[in-house]
Symmetry: D2
Subunit: 242 residues, 4 copies
């Protein structure tokens, strides 16, 4: 409980490096920098960042071993993430590392791998209003929020969202254009905790929004691993006489 | 997160005051004292106790308002708990207070009220072995445990256990006589978190067992309320033009 | 599977008998009649109705014993339902009878009793549009529907809805005024299955809507009891040598 | 409801064709034949079989398109199942086909793919007693059973079982040697329903046991697809004016 939580903020970081892409104006240093700066400002959290174009996407065995919670944003280059790295991240999650998948990371290899489904959804990018309603009022991830919060402009993500039913459904979003979406979803897989959080289209200043950042910070604390019991698999002697 | 958690340890405290009951030898100061002593030894937790025969069972509005987590043990006198106090505890749980129901508290008015079912079960008291297996290895309630722990002598509680399917099933017990039991069950009701934990027959020294105490301590931290968003019920103006 | 499902359609039936209430024009024979007529038109279902002002509210031991699924609509007279009848219905649900709670039955004694929470919610009656989105596309309750359906005018029910997280969340509603609502919720309690379904304000012709009726019919089939194993509670001999 | 359910019973079928393997004596025509014979005896079910060594493992697009529910048994040759067939089965499940994974199919590619976890577990094959306790008494899969049933000799499978928490936990097994196991687990993934069922080591006559067969038959009915709403993914026009 009193340990520092070591967060690695991962970002595809392609839109922001494209001089012609509007994301560059919103996040000149990349979305990962905005998220990491916020998290680093919280007590008991230390952050590093990693991006797609680093060797091994910045996610070596050593980095993952020293990561308690990994956040993930990807969009146009999901296919470029190497399977060997996806294997490695999956194994680390199942052994206890937290994983927070943001926005278009719904279609990342790692999220699809852990969910077992297509993770497909509806979408529309016209800058409409999103209102995120809290479903689970006692949950640590909503600590300090009101009963809902709004984003004046976001990409619509709508149902059907082809995911397993969440272990805990934390947010449901209302969109101006008529859709709803399960926008905050908790899962446990192996010893790891996973949170999917909808907001964060690259052309809107979503990762400067105080409510969005608060949710990400709360989720990091929620997803941080506890001291892990050793799971013992395989052939096993009887504990009782037979 | 950094706030002190205020725990009220409630006990029926009848067996232990009966000079002819074996519980008196095991818990001369009552089970509540054993549990409260342990919890008080943990950093960031302060405890008080309350018992059935105090006025209002020791659970006045003021006490409950100053309680973050309530633990409950009852057995022979469930019917003596006044409905007005049950109403009060239920309302406080739904507003965020944690509740930990121990052993025969499965049949307490407050647990049945919150579950909506009979909470009936199988039982047998012959001092057989219970082995509690961890089902949910990443859960805060099992922090620091091994993959199972044993109690050399306990009362058997067996399925069917007439409860709603737990939100999270943390333990399943194996009993020597041939039964299994969902022995650690998490629920959220309203803004409050509830944990049912099976061990603790009054004639065995269960509440001195280090694993049992660790689970109770972990559960207290898990069940402590977060800063609560204001839930707004009732007639409500539109947020959008109609 | 091949047995006839015996449904009792229960209705408070007060609004519809009031000559000055708009519900009378919409449902001159009562909402129960509209619902029962539809169900009776389905193969393998036989129906009866029962209303508040009948002796024992029409829910005698004999009626309940001969009921596989009970549907419930109530609004202004929840408090007039006798506790002894609520006890009886609760016991019958826990022993396997299905229960379908419609619209304002969220505040019925029987639903609150089975849920353990206040079942409070937001509401607004201005005749706005409700769009019910399917969350669980493989579920028997949505058989034959599209991915959503709309009601041009309904009462808004909004979150927070103070219920236990549903075992299965089947529908989430979008409301024109800006709210969302978990509008189709499945629960198992004891051996009984419970479905809460949001639509059905008394002044709108909701119970003539083909999608709403289809959902109710599907829910009746889903909630019908299976051949019940005998649950054995209480003191129990060991199954293995000790 | 009245449609015939088309079941494909898939089997690795290697042990049974090995003249030196004890499975051959127990299942001279293969486990698939024992299972298919039972299912074919039920009204409203028609069966075919498919095995690993057939072209495309007997699971062509045409076969899968004509399969409502697929049962799967594999053990020593999981790795020989081609990924292209696993992809095909996964896609078909997400589009509504039921899948019943038996015993050592916990480690099949298809089950691991759909779960997202290792699906690892404890095991021991000494022919000990397994007692399967019903957890969910109102569930269609336990229709017609008692509160538990026993298998005099089975392979022990024990916790930890590295699976996502089941949507519905139907059975928990007690093993003579001291372990427990979540031995009947329901999942929905996409529009498909999945049931994992523990019993069935190849050297014991488990698939002649009347309770085991009844469970498999019930599971087939439970997993059969309903008439599917069309899920619409991708870019989507607003349903409301913006």
């Amino acid at each position: 409980m009193s340990h520092t939580i070591r967060v690695t903020v991962w970002n595809e970081n392609r839109h922001e490096r494209n001089p012609n892409h509007p994301a560059r104006r919103v996040y000149p240093e990349g979305m990962h920098t905005a998220i990491a700066n916020y998290l680093a400002s919280l007590p008991g959290i230390e952050t590093r960042t990693a991006t797609l174009d680093e060797p091994e996407h910045g996610l070596t065995e050593d980095v993952l071993a020293a990561t308690d919670v990994l956040t993930w944003w990807g969009h146009v280059a999901h296919a470029e993430v190497q399977d060997v790295v996806v294997d490695r991240v999956q194994a680390r999650v199942l052994n206890g590392m937290g994983l927070i998948c943001l926005h278009s990371a719904h279609f990342s290899k790692i999220f699809r791998r852990l969910m077992g489904t297509t993770c497909n959804l509806k979408w529309r990018d016209v800058g409409e209003k999103e209102r995120l309603w809290v479903m689970e009022h006692g949950h640590p991830i909503v600590e300090g929020l009101g009963e809902y919060f709004e984003l004046p402009q976001e990409e619509m993500y709508g149902e059907p969202f082809d995911i397993p039913a969440p272990d805990t459904l934390v947010f449901v979003s209302w969109f101006q254009g008529g859709e709803v979406f399960r926008s905050g979803c908790c899962y446990t897989r192996g010893q790891g905790r996973i949170f999917y959080f909808c907001p964060g289209h690259e052309t809107y200043p979503t990762y400067y929004d105080q409510n969005v950042l608060r949710v990400i910070g709360n989720a990091v604390r929620w997803a941080a691993p506890v001291a892990e019991p050793t799971r013992v698999f395989g052939n096993s002697k009887p504990l009782e006489p037979l």
